[in-house]
């Protein structure tokens, strides 16, 4: 019982550290799939991560502004159902290249047979 509690605390601690830095990857994956506006990006992240990545709207807006500022993504304005036009974000060429190289260097290695065997997948 005591070990279960400790295991749970350790898991949460590790996950909290692990998840830092994950938001960028999930935003890029959302936009790799298709152009999206903020609510769609949020929905994508929450659904595809099985709710493991919580995505505060304010953090998302802040991240999008930063990535727009460094020219890795941009947007088209399209009419929404009501209210102001929606910003549909998409990756720029620089963003696309950044995403490809990041995935190649950091994600693809998990798909090697050797690592899969270690992970017992």
């Amino acid at each position: 019982m005591k070990n279960d509690k400790k295991l749970n605390e350790l898991l949460i601690s590790w996950e909290n550290t692990y998840k830092k830095g994950q938001l960028t990857l999930w935003i890029f994956m959302a936009l790799q799939e298709s152009k999206k506006y903020v609510d769609e990006i949020k929905g994508f992240i929450e659904k595809k991560s099985n709710g493991t990545i919580s995505c505060e709207e304010q953090s998302l807006y802040r991240a999008l502004r930063k990535y727009e500022h460094i020219d890795v993504l941009t947007y088209d304005l399209k009419e929404g159902n009501k209210g102001p036009d929606r910003k549909y974000y998409y990756l720029t060429n620089l963003g696309q290249e950044l995403f490809n190289q990041f995935a190649n260097r950091n994600i693809k290695l998990f798909y090697s047979t050797e690592i899969k065997n270690i992970l017992k997948l």
């Binding site: 830095g21 960028t24 500022h69 020219d71």
Partner: protein
Amino acid sequence: MKTITQYLLRFALTIIVLTIIFRYFLSYGIENHSTIIIILSAVIYFLSMFVSGWYFGKKDGEYLPIFDVGFRFHLTTYLIHNAISLLWIGLGLGSKYEKLSLSIMIAIYWGIFIIVHFIFYLWARKNSIDNLDKEDLFE
């Protein structure tokens, strides 16, 4: 320019108003030899400028965390304060006891601090990409 954000512009507008009010009361105090008005206007001006910088700086950082070690806000304050002061006295709106040369000296001495701050800003830019801190770029 991307580094001129909406909060920097709001800050600029606020300090234009504050500086004009300050200049009016300062000149009034000097003209009437009122130490209390001079001290009060300077203290209130300092506090209101500090609060404005703190408030808009915080908002600006939340909007887009530009890594400039406060240089944009400092430069804005320098340009607005000195432009209004020089124009105020230059156009004859100040007290007859106020000398333009004193305002010029303030602009020059303050300018030295601006240059030092600019050097720190250039140093900070080494740790940034497009003015955003490399360490804080990807969350």
